[in-house]
Amino acid sequence: MTAERVLRRGDDSAVLRLSETAAAEIGNDPDTMADDERVLLNMGPSHPSTHGVLRLMLEMEGETVLRSKPVVGYLHTGMEKQAEQLSFLQGCTNVTRMDYASPLFSELAFSLTTEKLLGIEVPERAVWIRMLMCELNRMSSHLLFMATNGMDLGAVGMMIYGWREREEVLRFFEMVTGLRMNHNYIRPGGVAADLPDGWEAEVERILEITEPRLEEYDVLMTGQPIWRERLQGVGVLNTDEALALSATGPLLRSTGYAWDLRRDEPYLAYDQVDFDVLVGTYGDCYDRFAIRLNEIRESMKIVRQILEKMPSGDYRIQDKKVTPPPRVRIDQSMEALIHHFKIFTEGYKVPAGEAYCAVESPRGELGVYIVSDGTSTPYRMHVRGPSFINLQTMPHLMKDGLIADGVAIISSVDPIMGEVDR
């Protein structure tokens, strides 16, 4: 195995290093292309299979993709700049909007980093609630992948099934956080509210519904010859290339490399639950599909253990520095009212320093790097978005493949453009 392919700089590289202006000029005058057989083709940014607003610049020869370049930035709203204006308390409302398919992971990474700077440790129940919510979110995110992956490859029925199961999880999220997406639930110091009464029954119901339906997916997709034909051997990456391109998550694991932050650098209480890290063999689209499908099963396994082990206690830290007083206290005490007011207007001050924390999101390593200068807003917040970085593998996966396979590849990299563009 070698990563030589991804280190190339010149015309033999899979990456089409061409500016948009230059590409437009070639488009106006096709004779400028070196070879008459080659065409520059634009795909997206508004295309049903590009998952939002991904644009691809493709250099084609017939139906074969030679070089390509993902053109991103259509959703860029300057969220890292925005984070510098928002207090640490408000920060979660911002980061949760990045990866909108798995918002709780961004909140978690942001909260962990802030807590590291503050030097606080959250109560045990908050840790387990966070873990429960994140594993359910991993399920919903991978179910969404099942839906879009199916849709992109023509299994339109799968789109509806995937969304149907995902909706069950989102309904639970709405019950706990009040919102289906962009929850702002995990916050520095714990979580926003305790789990509501009857949450166990609701979680058990989700598990009960999902289990047999995953079996149906196996019939519909995993074992189906057309599906396998469409995915096996398409978009192959080896381990060295994945490591060189900074790919993480299912993309790296599909190459046979067992690396999962939940197991290898345990955060929360992942060292107290039992689960398997799934790896592929060939590093193709089929492996990535199979890993995600089975990661839903592993997440369900973790959720079952959480149901058994959920400790009682506080759902947020009782540190007056970061936690607002309970609602009833505000009516009784002037000091509580002032305290409440201070925290929600000025925010709490975070000691100067820098910290980086990473979590295993459904798409790979999601890290947050915060530099604080001792005020109540981050001096600088940077998000290591796995989608943004995994996107770099796309030209290499597409090289010398058919454009129809390109659709399978975009889908199997599973980029969420909100996080790519931030």
Binding site: V15, L243, S246, Y369, D373, Y379, R384, Q392
Partner: protein, 183 residues
């Protein structure tokens, strides 16, 4: 730690002058080692940055996890730099991982405002390509020998570097259709 110093090779020698200024500093790959809330931080010198990174890669840091930058123009707190390092306006921050040992390091490089140029890490970890483009786009820091030094998130013809601290957040007037009173 002695192994690391050996593999650092040239980098260790070249930056030895800097290190003399602060006699107690431990070094690794030719960079000063400090601790930040339990994380290992290497303060590399810009001149020997590439040597430090090469030594790190030879030592088994097989993946570049993240690369970003910070603009310290308006930083209110004292800079937490070891003695002998001059604080500059920009800092490029790189996170590396060694999967085998489960080891992580953070490399910080001071980059002056009047010459914001740093060598590119493309030849060591091609995964740095998009991240370096992002830093160029947002901070105007150029990466020497980068295969495609262009903007990535902002439009190609954009003027200015949005994440610099002297770049205002700005605002655009929004008029709601149903609003009757126009200010």
């Amino acid at each position: 730690m002695s192994d690391d110093e050996n593999t650092a090779g040239e980098g260790a020698d070249a930056s030895a002058d800097e290190i003399d200024a602060g006699p107690d500093h431990e070094t690794r790959f030719g960079a000063i080692v400090t601790d930040s809330l339990g994380d290992v931080v290497l303060h590399a010198d810009r001149e020997t940055y590439l040597d430090t990174m090469t030594a790190a890669k030879d030592d088994g840091f097989d993946q570049l996890i993240d690369l970003t930058a910070v603009d310290f123009l308006a930083y209110a707190a004292p800079r937490d730099l070891p003695d002998g390092l001059d604080a500059e306006r920009f800092e490029v921050v790189v996170q590396l991982i060694n999967h085998e040992r489960g080891d992580r390091v953070r490399v910080r490089v001071q980059v002056p405002a009047d010459e914001p140029v740093v060598p590119s890490l493309f030849d060591l970890w091609p995964g740095s390509e998009a991240l370096e483009r992002e830093v160029f786009d947002m901070f105007g820091i150029e990466f020497d020998e980068h295969p495609d030094m262009s903007r990535i998130l902002m439009p190609e013809d954009w003027v200015g570097y949005p994440l610099r601290k002297d770049y205002a957040v700005g605002s655009i007037p929004v008029q709601f259709k149903s609003a009757s009173n126009v200010r």
